[in-house]
Every structure is written in structure tokens, then in C-alpha cells.
């Protein structure tokens, strides 16, 4: 699997992502600069976390207009696999590659803590090493992770099975109005969504920061290992 990580001015979790990808693929991903206008041949594009353009105006708004995003869009249209994490998810929604938007956390504070995610379907490249209903722990670190979309969009996402992950209690139960376990107040406790073709996944938490027992566990590793399985080493 040849992966490329897009770096925008202000991106700050590209290194975490590179470490995680290298851990599972054995090879360093390509680092792509936002102003580039061509893509190398890739199996996976990752939009990593951080504060692209300082998160000024709206998180991800300015990055969504970066020159390289035209290539990312074309890559998506051609059926490529894209993972957007945290700011990367925000960029994908701002670029309208994924539906919905991410508002300020309900308590208006930046939240850096572990959360638990429930896997909503296991037949995608991102989730194939889990079973539907599995719960895994992952760090989150964001101020704007409160997922919203209009009712019609939500209905469609739910109906088409495009919710990738939900915030959950460790036992797998989901309670959208329980602030301890849906910490940012997301609609239907949505933590991540898929594109229609299930090849693009955006999520707020950071599985890439939990792929090493030294850092407290490997709970996030199946996501990356699954991608390698699906897209080839």
C-alpha cells in the first residue's frame, strides 16, 4: 500500500500518522505539500490532524481550497481510498467530499482524552479487522468535533449505513445525550462517516496515536492493518 499524507500549513499530526502507517506497512508514506498540483501514484491519501491555517475562520475551510485538493477530489472521483482524521475530517466536510459539518464541542472546550468508538460496519477497507459492534479505545483531541448535518442527510447516512463509528460506552452502548460518552455532542453520537462508495472515511478521534503498546495500547492499529490488507502491502 502506497500512502500519501497531505501537509497543509498548520498541520501537526502528520508525523503521528506517518509513524502509524510505517508501523503497519514497513515503508514511509509520501508527504505531500498542499500547494502541489500532481499526485504520485497512491493507494491511500490521508488528510491528517492539526490546525491547518490555524483553524481560523472555520476548521478546514481554507485547506479545502488548497491546490492539491483538486487532485484529491479527482482521486476520490476515481474511486481512491481517503482517510481524513480530525482536521482531515473537517477538511473533507468543508470540501463537501463528505457530508455534514463539525461545530464547536458542546461544552465549548477543547477535549483531549480517551474515548471509545463502536464500529458500525465491518465490510469496509477501514474497518475490516473489526467486527460490527466492536468497541475500541482511542485518543481524541479537538475543539470542533460536534458532528451536525440536516435531518435529511442524517437520515440518508443512517439509512445507507454510512456511519463508520459512534462514540460509545466501553460496553458498546451508545447514548447521544450522555456527555461523558458522547463528549462533543455529535448528532447520533457520530464520530466518523463514510462516502457513498465506502472508500472515503472521515473521523474525529486519533487511532494513529494508539498503535504502540508503549503509548498505552494498540487499539487503533486494526484500522491501519486493515487498510494494508485491503489495499495491499
Amino acid at each position: 500500500m502506497k500512502a500519501g499524507i497531505v501537509v497543509f500549513p498548520g498541520t501537526n499530526r502528520e508525523r503521528d500518522m506517518a509513524i502509524a502507517l510505517k508501523r503497519v506497512t514497513g515503508q514511509a508514506p509520501a508527504m505531500l505539500w498542499h500547494r502541489d498540483t500532481t499526485l504520485p501514484k497512491l493507494d491511500l491519501i490521508v488528510l491528517p490532524g492539526g490546525f491547518s491555517h490555524g483553524d481560523y475562520l472555520r476548521c478546514g475551510a481554507m485547506a479545502a481550497h488548497a491546490p492539491l485538493m483538486a487532485e484529491v477530489r479527482a482521486f476520490a472521483a476515481a474511486g481512491g481510498h481517503i482517510l481524513g482524521v480530525c482536521n482531515g475530517f473537517q477538511i473533507l466536510t468543508e470540501a463537501q467530499i463528505l457530508p455534514g459539518a463539525l461545530l464547536r464541542n458542546a461544552n465549548l472546550r477543547f477535549l483531549s482524552q480517551d474515548c471509545h468508538l463502536r464500529v458500525e460496519r465491518a465490510d469496509t477497507a477501514f474497518t475490516r479487522l473489526w467486527a460490527k459492534g466492536d468497541v475500541f479505545r482511542t485518543p481524541m483531541a479537538h475543539g470542533d468535533g460536534n458532528y451536525v448535518a440536516d435531518p435529511a442527510t442524517i437520515e440518508r447516512l443512517e439509512g445507507e449505513g454510512r456511519v463508520a463509528f459512534r462514540y460509545a460506552r466501553p460496553d458498546g452502548t451508545v447514548a447521544a445525550d450522555d456527555q461523558a460518552h458522547n463528549p462533543n455532542g455529535s448528532l447520533n453520537a457520530i464520530a466518523g462517516v463514510f462516502s457513498e462508495n465506502l472508500r472515503i472515511c472521515g473521523m474525529m478521534p486519533h487511532p494513529e496515536d494508539l498503535v504502540d503498546p508503549l503509548m498505552g495500547g494498540e487499539d487503533g492499529k486494526p484500522l491501519f492493518a486493515g487498510l494494508v490488507e485491503a489495499l495491499g502491502r
Partner: protein
């Protein structure tokens, strides 16, 4: 010479700028004429307490600063120590106390930004931030606003630049009501052969300005932070500096990219007194002259005068001297990162700083006397009376109630509300996050090395006995590092005190430094960088001045060759619990005394540095040997609070045995005797005999297991109950 300002320069103006009559007299004799406004501005900031350390220098010189592993001690932008494998840790702590009182968010944010620049200016990629915070009485309505702004500011800046905030401390005390303390620490890592210094060199070499443009921000910030607050302070404040962490992030990346080339001769961040202090210090250190052309300075506002540009404290700016043939390489890098890049001057052989603006020479000052004749004061010191020993005290509440009260009290309650607003995992190298070990542990990418980081100070001990308090702060930092298995290497400090012109404050300062020095020497734990913040006082409308508690905050750094050997304090199942170190049951100045009796008196616990060293070396050896699986140093609140913290962190309970015979339970459980550790070991007997053989005091405390903390007299407190008592304070104060 033009005098861009409207003001006449005279002694009265000099005083307004914070210079004394004598100091102004000295300026006149150095200059041989009346200085221009810009020149007066330059003298006043360079000779301010903040830049010249005029009250503290004689005492700072007494601190030990060397060790075989110290690469650069105080004097550079940050301290540099050898951490093995050709790498160096570069670190420093700095205060932003006064700005944080005026505008808590921006004050704290720019504090973080400033200390980051001190570290990456030396070539290090910042790998961790810490922050030591002191706030006023939680019951004071101002406190909540300040806590909220400061915590948001620290997080807002650190999270955006993408440096994990991994530790720190928070205290509350009414003495900080009008004067919170915000001490920020940054730790970076560089290759030892790629460390950048600030001494300028090379006649004719270009002087380059990079980063943000210059506005009228914080003019006279340096002199303001060197005088005490009065009721007018809020009205007189200069334009508040606003931080731009996004630009800082770009600046880090651009500087590190440039530092991978051979373009840089010298580099220095523009901190307090911005362009003035950076240019004067770079030229001064290199023994060269410098010519600046202010027309070339990128400006954010129209019509700025030379005086304003030289004194502006606009953030996110750096000054560099480059090899002339590499200027274009540098320009290309800064353009890529969309940062200002301007050649604003060159080095000369005149030994003078010459500042030109709009065709006029606005300043022309000889650099040597500006530095050498900077004021230096041997301020009178008055010793504080020795605290009366604590007489007999009763225990009105019993062990269980005291424990529940203490773990929910402001100085012990869970800090999760604070550190959960800080991104502690960005970088993917955080091995121990806040709330899980006595020191945070950060791995160095691509190596097996781990850094152990902590900040510590117990100001109530310092007020009672500054010498003991100074030693205790160093000892606690050393102990916190040791408790993870790391080898303590060096410290940075942030000495926060009141008005040094008061002999009793100067006495506290001197005694605290003596205590720190004692401890640093005894523990081989030299001071490699630091910062002094004086005049932390508030003048109340009735004319009285109150100083803060003396607060010599210590930032400690240690190293683990193999980071996988680091341990935390989370309780592990099926262990014997052992207390290492001797217990005399010292309740003087303890939190038990304060929280249960409402008293802040008695002598602080004795700091026995020989015991500290022996106990710590013993514990560390047994952590690295794999015998100890969890370890917590005993500090605020004593042994029982320490045990409760272990239980909460690990989610595993424990059953305790009766305290030491002949000692009152409250003295055993809540005394704050130093040099002690609670360790969880698999084989208690073996460990105890090893301790005995080594001459180390150790006694069994009980064993781990279950889902509660069971006291010797039988009552069990569930982990859930402990946690709810521990976690209530901050949300109740802040999330109303």
C-alpha cells in the same frame, strides 16, 4: 540627531521608563550627551529587571550549573544537556505572570509562544510543554475568570502549534489573588552537532528579520513586568500582545528547515523588548557592532516610530545573522512558509548599535558599556523568622473523613479538567500522559530514549522557611523523575517573588536560592536555564502591598535510555505495597493541617538531602531492575493521599495495614515527610530485605487488589467514591 518622539528626554521621563536617577546618570555618562527617546527606550528595557536581572544576578551566580552532561548552562536561550546517542535536550521555563493578569487568555498563550521560541531558536524541535500555574482563592470571583482564560490560552496556543502539553501543576492560594503565576516550560530535542547560538559574527553579514510583522504591541512590557501592580495598572496597560500560534507553527517549521542547512551564523528569538534585546544581545555576545535600518522592518501599522519599533513586543518574530551567500536559500524557505523575511541590517566592527529610520540616526549606543555597566544590586536581605514548631494538634475528623476531604481539596483534586483541555498526545510519542506518573514521559522518535519531565514547587513551605522550601522544590522534582525510573539530569527554574526592594522579600529570594543550590549540588542536578519574575505583588486600594508566596518553580528533566522501562503510579493488582523512606509524621505546613484545621503554620518537613539521594537511587535501581511495578512519590497530602491517587489512577484497590506503632494515625497517614516513595512490588519480603541490606528505611503498607481502598480499621472506600470526590472540584468551580 532626530528625536522622533514628542517627549523631552530628561530624568523625569527616565523615571517614567523605570530608570532610577543614578541609572539615568550612568546613561548620560555612557552617552556623553542627552540620549534620544529611542536610546532612552533601549537603555530602559535593557536595564529593566526583566532583561538585566539586576536584583537577582548576584544570587543566581551561586547556583551550580555544571555537570559532565551539561552542554550549555545558563546564558544561552535555553539550557542544553546530553541525553545520549548524540542528542541533546534543550529546555527552559519562563513566566508570563503580569500579562496573564491583564488578559488571561493572551497572557498565557503568548507565554507559551515565547518559551517555545527560546527552545527552537537553538535548533531543537519542541517535543513537550509543561505549565506551572498558581491562582488566587477559588472563592474569589476573579479566580474563575483567570483560571478559565489561562487554561484556554495555554491550550489554545500549545494545541495549535502541535506540541503536546504533558504536565504541570496548579495551586490555589489567596496570595495570588491579584497576581496569578503562569510559568511555561518547553523541552526540545536537537542533534548535539546542530545547536544554534546567539553570538553574532562576521563583519558585514546580513541581519535578517523573520516571522510576523511589527505592531505597537506590548511596548514597555519588559519594564512593566518589572514593577509592581497598582490600581492603575489595568488602565496603563500597553496594547495587549496577541499570539498567533499558526504563525509560530510555520516559524518552527521554517527555522528547522533552514537549520538543516549551513546558512545560519547566529539566531535569537525576539522576546521581551523585541528588536532591542535581540539585536543588542546578539551583537554584544559576539563582540561586534550592528547597524539596523528600520525602514526595512515589516510593519503592521502605519506611522510607527523608531522608538515604537525598537520596543515593540509583537510576537512570533526572530532575528538571524546569515552567511551572505545563503541569504537566498533562507529567503526561499521563508517564502515557502509564507512568513516575513527582511534584511534589516548588517554587522559592523564599531562595537555600537546604530539604528536608522527615515534617513535619520535614531540611536547610536556603544554596546560594551550598555552590557557591562548594566545596574547590579546587592539588595539588602532580611531573614524571615524561623517558624515556630507545630505544637500538638488533635484529629477532629478521623482518617477516612480527612482523606475524602483532602482528595477533593483545591490543591489535590484531580487536574483532569485542566489537562484534558491540552493536547497531550500530538506527536505520537507520549508514553505517560498527565495523571498517570509522577513525571510525564515522552519518547524521542526513532530512538529508545525517553525524557521524564516535571514541574514542582510547594510555596507554602517556602513561605515558612524559604531555604527548606527551595531545597524541597528541587528534591521533589528529582523524586518525581526518579519515581518513573528515569535518571534526573538538570533543572530549569522560574523564581517568582515579590518586590526585591523589600528586604524580607529579598531575604526569601536569597534563602530559596541557597536551598535550591544545596539540593542541586547534593543531587547532581544542576540548573541549566531559568527565569526570574519579581514584583509579584498587588497594591490594594487601602495602600497595603501583598506579596505572593515565594514560588521558586522547578522544571526537572530526566532521561531513560530505554523508555520501555518507565513506570507510572497506577496501582497494579497483586502487589505488596511498601513505603520507602523514614516517617516522622511531620504535619507542619501540611495540607492536612490547612484543610482540616484551617491553619498554615509550623515548620515545613525537613529536607534530608542525603536520605533523598540514597532513597531515590535505591528506588530507581529497583525500578530498572524490574522489581517495582508502580511507584508514587509522597508529597502533598502524605501517604494516604498518595495511595488513593495510585488506586484511582490504576483502577485497582488496596488493603492497608496499621500505621507505624507509636505514631498518631493522622501523622503517619497525612504527614508530609520528604524523601519517601510508595512502591508496588511483586515480592515484598525480598524487597524489604534488599532495603535493609542497603540501609534504606522501608516498611510494609499493605497489599493491592480489590475495588476499593480498605483502611486498617476496616472501612472500604470504593474507587468510584474516591473518584467522585477527587473529580468534583474543578467542574464545580468552572462549569457552572
Amino acid at each position: 540627531m532626530s528625536n522622533a518622539g514628542q517627549k523631552t528626554v530628561d530624568e523625569a521621563l527616565a523615571r517614567e521608563f523605570g530608570l532610577t536617577a543614578d541609572e539615568y546618570g550612568n546613561v548620560l555618562s555612557i552617552m556623553g550627551r542627552t540620549p534620544s527617546l529611542t536610546e532612552l527606550g533601549i537603555f530602559s528595557v535593557m536595564w529593566s529587571e526583566h532583561c538585566s536581572y539586576k536584583s537577582s544576578r548576584v544570587w543566581l551566580k551561586t547556583l551550580p550549573t555544571t555537570a559532565p552532561w551539561v552542554i550549555h548552562g545558563p546564558g544561552e536561550n535555553a539550557g542544553v544537556v546530553d541525553i545520549g546517542q548524540g542528542l541533546a535536550a534543550i529546555f527552559k521555563m519562563e513566566s508570563h505572570n503580569h500579562p496573564s493578569f491583564i488578559e488571561p487568555y493572551q497572557g498565557a498563550a503568548t507565554g507559551v509562544g515565547g518559551i517555545l521560541r527560546d527552545v527552537f531558536t537553538m535548533g531543537a524541535r519542541p517535543v513537550a510543554n509543561l505549565n506551572a500555574l498558581r491562582f488566587g482563592d477559588p472563592a474569589n470571583p476573579q479566580t474563575r475568570r483567570i483560571v478559565d482564560g489561562v487554561v484556554r490560552g495555554v491550550g489554545g496556543y500549545g494545541n495549535c502549534v502541535g506540541v503536546p502539553t504533558v504536565g504541570g501543576e496548579v495551586n490555589f492560594h489567596p496570595s495570588y489573588d491579584g497576581n496569578p503565576l503562569v510559568n511555561a516550560m518547553t523541552v526540545g530535542v536537537a542533534r548535539q552537532d546542530r545547536i544554534f547560538l546567539s553570538a553574532a559574527a562576521g563583519l558585514g553579514n546580513p541581519v535578517i528579520y523573520v516571522g510576523s510583522s511589527t505592531g505597537r504591541d506590548g511596548i514597555h512590557g519588559a519594564t512593566m513586568s518589572s514593577s509592581e501592580f497598582d490600581e492603575d495598572a489595568l488602565a496603563k496597560r500597553p496594547t495587549v500582545q496577541v499570539g498567533d500560534p499558526f504563525v509560530e507553527k510555520l516559524l518552527i517549521e521554517a527555522c528547522l528547515e533552514l537549520m538543516a542547512t549551513d546558512a545560519i551564523v547566529a539566531i535569537q528569538d525576539m522576546g521581551a523588548a523585541g528588536l532591542t534585546s535581540s539585536s543588542v544581545e546578539m551583537a554584544g555576545k559576539g563582540g561586534v557592532g550592528i547597524d539596523l535600518d528600520l525602514d526595512a522592518v515589516p510593519q503592521r501599522e502605519r506611522g510607527m516610530s523608531a522608538y515604537e519599533m525598537m520596543l515593540s513586543e509583537s510576537q512570533e518574530r526572530m532575528l538571524m545573522v546569515l552567511r551572505p551567500d545563503r541569504t537566498d536559500v533562507a529567503r526561499t524557505i521563508f517564502e515557502k512558509w509564507e512568513l516575513e523575511f527582511a534584511v534589516i541590517g548588517h554587522l559592523t566592527d564599531t562595537g555600537r548599535i546604530v539604528v536608522r529610520h527615515k534617513g535619520a540616526v535614531e540611536a547610536d549606543i556603544p554596546l560594551a558599556p550598555l552590557a557591562d555597566q548594566a545596574p547590579l544590586y546587592h539588595r539588602p536581605t532580611a531573614p524571615s523568622p524561623a517558624p515556630a514548631p507545630l505544637g500538638p494538634v488533635t484529629d477532629p475528623v478521623g482518617t477516612e473523613r480527612a482523606l475524602m476531604h483532602l482528595i477533593g481539596s483545591p490543591d489535590i483534586a484531580s487536574r483532569a479538567w485542566v489537562y484534558n483541555q491540552y493536547d497531550s498526545t500530538v506527536g505520537g510519542q507520549t508514553v505517560r500522559r498527565p495523571g498517570s506518573a509522577d513525571a510525564a514521559i515522552v519518547k524521542i522518535d526513532d530512538t529508545s530514549i525517553g525524557l521524564a519531565l516535571t514541574t514542582d514547587c510547594t510555596p507554602r513551605y517556602c513561605r515558612a522557611d524559604a531555604r527548606t522550601g527551595g531545597a524541597q522544590a528541587v528534591a521533589e522534582a528529582w523524586r518525581n523523575i526518579t519515581a518513573t525510573g528515569a535518571r534526573p539530569l538538570a533543572v530549569t527554574d522560574n523564581l517568582n517573588f515579590g518586590n526585591p526592594e523589600k528586604p524580607e522579600v529579598m531575604g526569601q529570594f536569597a534563602a530559596a536560592i541557597e536551598g535550591m543550590g544545596d539540593a542541586c549540588r547534593a543531587l547532581d542536578f544542576p540548573v541549566v536555564s531559568g527565569n526570574v519574575s519579581l514584583y509579584n505583588e498587588t497594591r490594594t486600594p487601602d495602600g497595603t502591598t501583598t506579596a505572593i508566596l515565594p514560588t521558586p518553580a522547578i522544571g526537572g528533566l530526566g532521561v531513560l535510555e530505554d523508555v520501555s522501562q518507565a513506570i507510572g503510579y497506577g496501582m497494579q493488582d497483586d502487589c505488596d505495597l511498601i513505603l520507602v523512606g523514614e516517617t516522622r509524621g511531620e504535619l507542619g505546613q501540611s495540607l492536612w493541617l490547612r484543610e482540616i484545621h484551617g491553619r498554615e503554620d509550623g515548620a515545613p518537613p525537613v529536607v534530608d538531602l542525603a536520605a533523598e539521594r540514597a532513597n531515590g537511587d535505591f528506588v530507581r535501581a529497583h525500578i530498572l531492575g524490574g522489581d517495582i511495578v508502580a511507584c508514587h512519590d509522597v508529597s502533598d497530602g502524605g501517604v494516604l493521599v498518595g495511595l488513593a491517587e495510585m488506586v484511582m489512577a490504576g483502577g485497582v484497590g488496596c488493603t492497608l495495614v496499621a500505621p507505624q506503632s507509636g505514631m498518631r494515625p493522622e501523622a503517619f497517614w497525612f504527614g508530609e515527610d520528604q524523601a519517601r516513595y510508595i512502591v508496588a512490588v511483586r515480592k515484598g519480603e525480598t524487597f524489604l530485605s534488599a532495603a535493609q541490606a542497603a540501609g534504606i528505611a522501608a516498611r510494609p503498607l499493605g497489599e493491592s487488589g480489590g475495588d476499593g481502598l480498605t483502611l486498617p480499621q476496616g472501612g472500604t472506600i470504593s474507587i468510584a467514591r474516591l473518584r467522585s470526590a477527587h473529580e468534583a472540584f474543578f467542574p464545580a468551580l468552572m462549569d457552572r
